[in-house]
Structures are given as structure tokens and as C-alpha cells.
């Protein structure tokens, strides 16, 4: 297995408080790597640092052997990393299809001037992107909803739409920020199945998730964060057996599912 993403000593302060402190991990090809930890542990901050929405105070992120330091979010997306958001960031007034087609932005080449003189939907590129977007919509389980405005979907479907949008450009690594939040148990099961299918197809995923059942089922390796620091790293079985994790993260009385 090849290393796809290397995070080394990643650190970020917010006003003197370390939101993320010297975190290091690697994500392999076709691996689901999960970050877990209580609220405020720094998981979303790690996502924002990797995708370039925040700049690190120290540390490095290397993707496919190339440093991402100083790259803008759109350049990091072009390098092959996309993401979803914990608090959904859909293009609410655009249709489901348009959201996914917008997600496939990097697959297109049509620029501003060419867009002015090309009749809507007539170019080969546009037709291809549309066809692929529709296929992806079916694949995540939103078949028949392509024409609806994204904001009109129920919450659980909006989560799936964000995943479809993040996959639309064909990234090698997808960062999923609490994809199961707000899903019912049947939807969560479907989601877990889908993530495993994506892994079989060679996709790597970095997963932040509070639903432990899902994490233990799909993740290859798990890193536990607490107050911005990594306190454990291992397979689901190792993490469940780690007394420090149970104490720090789950509390005395609870048990990992």
C-alpha cells in the first residue's frame, strides 16, 4: 500500500489556545482513516487545515509526495482532495443535478468567454458531465430527485448530496465531516455500505464521525483526538481495547459499541 496523505506535526492556535497540536498521521491508498474525539477535539480544524481553508501555524501536509503548503483551497481540490462539511454547505438554490455538476467543475474546461457563446447544455463536455452527475446521483441513492432544489431535500438526503458533490470531480481522497449525522439507522447502514464500496474502488477517505458503530464498522484505522492532541492510533479493535481512550474520550461508564 502506498501512502497518499502525510500529515506531520500539524499545529494551529486560535488566540493562544491550541485547537490542533502536533498531529501526525498517514492515510494509505484505499484506506478509510477515521478521526474521532469529543466535540472541540480539533477534528474539523484538521479538515480545514488540510483543505487550505485555514493555514497551519506549524507542520506540513504532503499529498502524493507533494507539499500542499501555501496552496489555495481550489488548488488543493485540483490536486485531488475534496470534502464535505459538518454543517452542510450545499448550493441550496441550485438543483441536486446542478450541485453535483458544480462539484464536477474540475472535470470541465469551458471558461468564461466560451460559456457566453455556447448554447446551454449543447457542448460534449457539458453532456458528459451531466451524464456522469446523474449516474453519481443514482449511486448515492438520490435517483429521481435530480431536478429538485437542494434546499428542498430532507436533511439526510442533503448529506448524501454533499457526498455526491465531493465525489463528482473524481478525487483520490475525500474528507467526510460527520456524514452520518442526522441520518436514521437504515440510512446510516446504507452509507456505511457505500463508503466500503468506494474503498473497494480504490478511493481513500478521511472520516470524522460521532456514530461509533459506523466508525468501527468502516474504518481501517482510527486516531483519537482530545483537546487538539492525538491520544491513540490503531485499528478499531485496538482503539476499543485502549483503556486511555475509554477513560478520556468515552468516560468511565460507557463502552465502545
Amino acid at each position: 500500500m502506498e501512502v497518499l496523505l502525510e500529515v506531520e506535526g500539524l499545529t494551529r492556535y486560535f488566540g493562544g489556545v491550541a485547537a490542533v497540536k502536533e498531529i501526525s498521521f498517514q492515510v494509505q491508498e484505499a484506506e478509510i482513516f477515521a478521526l474521532i474525539g469529543p466535540n472541540g477535539a480539533g477534528k474539523t480544524t484538521v479538515f480545514n487545515l488540510i483543505t487550505g481553508l485555514l493555514a497551519p501555524d506549524a507542520g506540513s501536509v504532503v499529498f502524493e509526495g507533494k507539499s500542499l503548503a501555501g496552496l489555495k483551497p481550489h488548488q488543493i481540490a485540483a490536486a485531488g482532495i475534496t470534502r464535505t462539511f459538518q454543517n452542510l454547505q450545499l448550493f441550496g438554490n441550485m438543483t441536486v443535478l446542478e450541485n453535483v455538476m458544480a462539484g464536477a467543475y474540475l472535470k470541465g474546461r469551458t471558461g468564461f468567454l466560451k460559456s457566453l457563446v455556447t448554447w446551454p447544455g449543447s457542448s460534449r463536455e457539458e453532456k458528459l458531465i451531466r451524464r456522469e452527475a446523474l449516474a453519481l446521483i443514482d449511486e448515492v441513492g438520490l435517483a429521481g430527485l435530480a431536478g429538485l432544489p437542494a434546499a428542498a431535500l430532507p436533511f439526510g438526503r442533503q448529506r448524501l448530496l454533499e457526498i455526491a458533490r465531493a465525489l463528482a470531480s473524481g478525487p483520490r481522497l475525500v474528507l467526510l465531516d460527520e456524514p452520518a449525522a442526522g441520518l436514521n439507522s437504515a440510512e446510516t447502514k446504507e452509507l456505511a455500505g457505500y463508503l466500503k464500496r468506494l474503498r473497494e474502488e480504490g478511493k481513500s477517505m478521511l472520516l470524522v464521525e460521532h456514530d461509533m458503530e459506523t466508525v468501527m464498522e468502516v474504518a481501517d484505522r482510527i486516531m483519537v483526538l482530545n483537546s487538539g492532541e492525538a491520544i491513540a492510533l490503531g485499528t478499531p479493535a485496538e482503539i476499543q481495547a485502549n483503556p486511555e481512550v475509554i477513560k478520556a474520550y468515552l468516560g468511565e461508564d460507557e463502552r465502545v459499541a
Binding site: 480544524t45 481553508l53 454547505q89 469551458t110 455556447t118 446551454p120 463536455e125 434546499a151 465531493a166
Partner: protein
């Protein structure tokens, strides 16, 4: 989606309109409305899609006008070439202003264009021989395209109608294209747009430059229509009116720019007649008060603008959008 039948019906209406009105005054108003709507279409892309405001579009309009006028008179350029330059120069200037400012947050472009507009208006007034100062430039030739000279109002009316139609169709292509989706995406969630691979600064810059090019086109045509220009139509006051036209018409709608321009031009004429009856001796500056009141009323009663009269379903979605702009939460949190 654009209803082709409606577009055809409206086009036919405007094709026969000059024969119905038989008034040079009204025909002149229609030509000016058409020219304004070209500017407002561009402003609509900038405001409605890229989410940026410009208070300097009268200056781009003026730059286009003066460029066309100076090149066609003092420099002796053929009028079509002068018209092309009238589009190019505002575009270039917009690129220079937009590059640093569009990387910053939303209001910076509004402030930069505000300052720019005032500066350009001063330059027109103080430009000495080059701009003719406050008295302006006279003796601008009529536009001639390959032997066809647009020296009568009726000819110019059809030329403007054709340009408005072409620009409208091009913009309709744009908003449904890959670029248009990206522009709309930026307005909905800039973070999501960026992490989907969109260079949001570049896209906003392109929208801004495009809107300046359209303002320059309208300016060039205006110079060849009136054949005499002075600084007064290119003041800050006019920039505010363009923003008003865009908002009243409805941002992000196909028909909005035409309706907004038409309404504001008509209101301006009506107020010029009505206000002195109520307040004796009142000058043009009173108009802006009434425009302000109208803007507030539109915001209250029809936040999606008048464009919603012809395409209601689109605008209801826009008006009733549930908090699509709360973007910053994406960076906060655990």
C-alpha cells in the same frame, strides 16, 4: 429555463413598438433604456451571481463614452474600432481595480468602485482639451458599420435592440454553463465552491471585468448616439441608479435588467415633471431621495425584484432561501 415563446413575443413587441409610439421623445427614452439595460445585465451578473456590488459603473459607462468619442474625433479612428476600444479600456481598468480588491471581503469592491467613480468623474471635468472639461466633447461622428450609417434614431433603436438581444442570450448561455454554475455556487457557499476546485477570486474578477466591458459597450454606443458628451451623465448619482435598476428589476433574472431600466428611466422622467409641482424650485438632487424610497419599498415588498413578475417560480425559491449564506460556520467548530 427561458421560455422561447415569451422571448419571441417580447422581441416582436419591441420590433413594432416604434411604429406604435410615433414619438421621437419616447423613442429616445427607449434607446437610453436599452443602453442602460446592457449595463444592468452586466451588473446583474456581478451582483446576482458573483455577489459583489459596484458603485462605479457610471464611470465605466463614461470611460467607454469618452474612449469612443476621443478616438473617433481627435484620433480619427473608424467608429467600429473606437467602439471596440470603448469596451477594452473599461475592461482593462476593471481588471486593475478588481485584482487586489476581489481577494478581500465583499464590501471592498463597493468601496473601491465608489472611489474610482468619483475620481473618474473629476478627470472628465478636469481633463482640459482631452475631455473638453465640463462642457464636454462635440462633433462625435455617427456609428458606421460597413457602409451602414446609424444617423437616425429609428436605425439606432434597432441596433440597440439587436445588441440587447445578443447580450441577453450570451448571458443566458453563461449562467447555465460550467462558469455560471460556479458563479452561482460562490454566492451560495464560497467555502464549498473553493473546495470544489473553483478559483473564486478569478471568477469574481471575470464577472467584474465582463460587467465593465458591457458598461463600456453601452458607453461607446451612447457617444455615437448623442454625438455630444459631457461629464454629467457619468456621475456617482448614475452609478446608484444602475444599482437601483439591477435590484428593482431582480437580480439573477433574465427579464430583470430590462424591467428595472425601463421603470427607473420612466420614474426619473415622471419625477422630473412631478417633483417641481410639489416642491417648487427642486432640482435633480431630489430625485435620488425618491429613488431611495423606491429601493426601500422594493426591498420590503418584492425582495426578489420585478423580474419575478415574468418568472415567479424561480424567484420564490430565491426569496425564500433558507440561510444559504451562512458560510462562516464551515471554518469554526471542533
Amino acid at each position: 429555463m427561458l421560455k422561447k415563446a415569451l422571448v419571441f413575443a417580447v422581441l416582436i413587441f419591441f420590433l413594432v413598438l416604434p411604429f406604435l409610439i410615433r414619438s421621437n421623445y419616447l423613442l429616445g427614452m427607449l434607446i437610453v433604456t436599452g443602453l442602460y439595460s446592457i449595463i444592468v445585465i452586466g451588473l446583474g451578473i456581478l451582483m446576482g451571481y458573483a455577489g459583489q456590488v459596484s458603485f462605479g459603473h457610471a464611470a465605466f459607462f463614461g470611460l467607454g463614452s469618452y474612449t469612443a468619442a476621443i478616438l473617433a474625433t481627435s484620433c480619427g479612428w473608424p467608429t467600429p474600432a473606437a467602439l471596440l476600444a470603448a469596451m477594452a479600456l473599461p475592461g482593462l481598468v476593471a481588471a486593475l481595480i478588481g485584482r487586489p480588491t476581489l481577494k478581500l471581503k465583499e464590501l471592498y469592491l463597493a468601496l473601491a468602485t465608489l472611489a474610482f467613480g468619483i475620481l473618474v468623474h473629476i478627470l472628465f471635468n478636469e481633463g482640459g482639451e482631452i475631455t473638453g472639461g465640463p462642457s464636454g466633447l462635440a462633433g462625435i461622428p455617427y456609428l458606421s458599420l460597413g457602409g451602414l450609417v446609424f444617423d437616425r434614431d429609428i436605425e439606432f433603436y434597432y441596433l440597440v435592440l439587436a445588441v440587447v438581444l445578443l447580450v441577453s442570450l450570451a448571458v443566458n448561455n453563461l449562467i447555465q454553463s460550467r462558469t455560471g454554475r460556479a458563479l452561482r455556487a460562490i454566492r451560495e457557499s464560497e467555502h464549498a465552491a473553493q473546495t470544489a476546485g473553483m478559483d473564486t477570486s478569478l471568477l469574481k474578477l471575470q464577472a467584474f471585468v465582463f460587467s465593465a466591458v458591457l458598461a463600456g459597450l453601452a458607453g461607446g454606443l451612447y457617444a455615437f448616439y448623442v454625438t455630444f458628451i459631457s461629464p454629467s451623465p457619468f456621475s456617482f448619482h448614475m452609478s446608484v441608479q444602475f444599482v437601483l435598476m439591477a435590484v428593482v428589476g431582480g437580480l439573477g433574472t433574465f427579464w430583470g435588467p430590462l424591467q428595472g431600466s425601463g421603470l427607473v428611466v420612466a420614474l426619473g422622467e415622471a419625477l422630473r415633471w412631478a417633483v417641481p409641482l410639489v416642491i417648487p424650485g427642486a432640482g435633480g438632487e431630489y430625485q435620488i431621495i425618491f429613488f431611495g424610497i423606491i429601493l426601500v419599498l422594493v426591498m420590503i415588498f418584492r425582495p426578489a425584484g420585478l423580474g419575478s413578475l415574468l418568472s415567479p417560480q424561480v424567484n420564490q425559491e430565491r426569496a425564500g432561501r433558507p440561510g444559504g449564506r451562512e458560510v462562516d460556520g464551515g471554518v469554526a467548530g471542533g
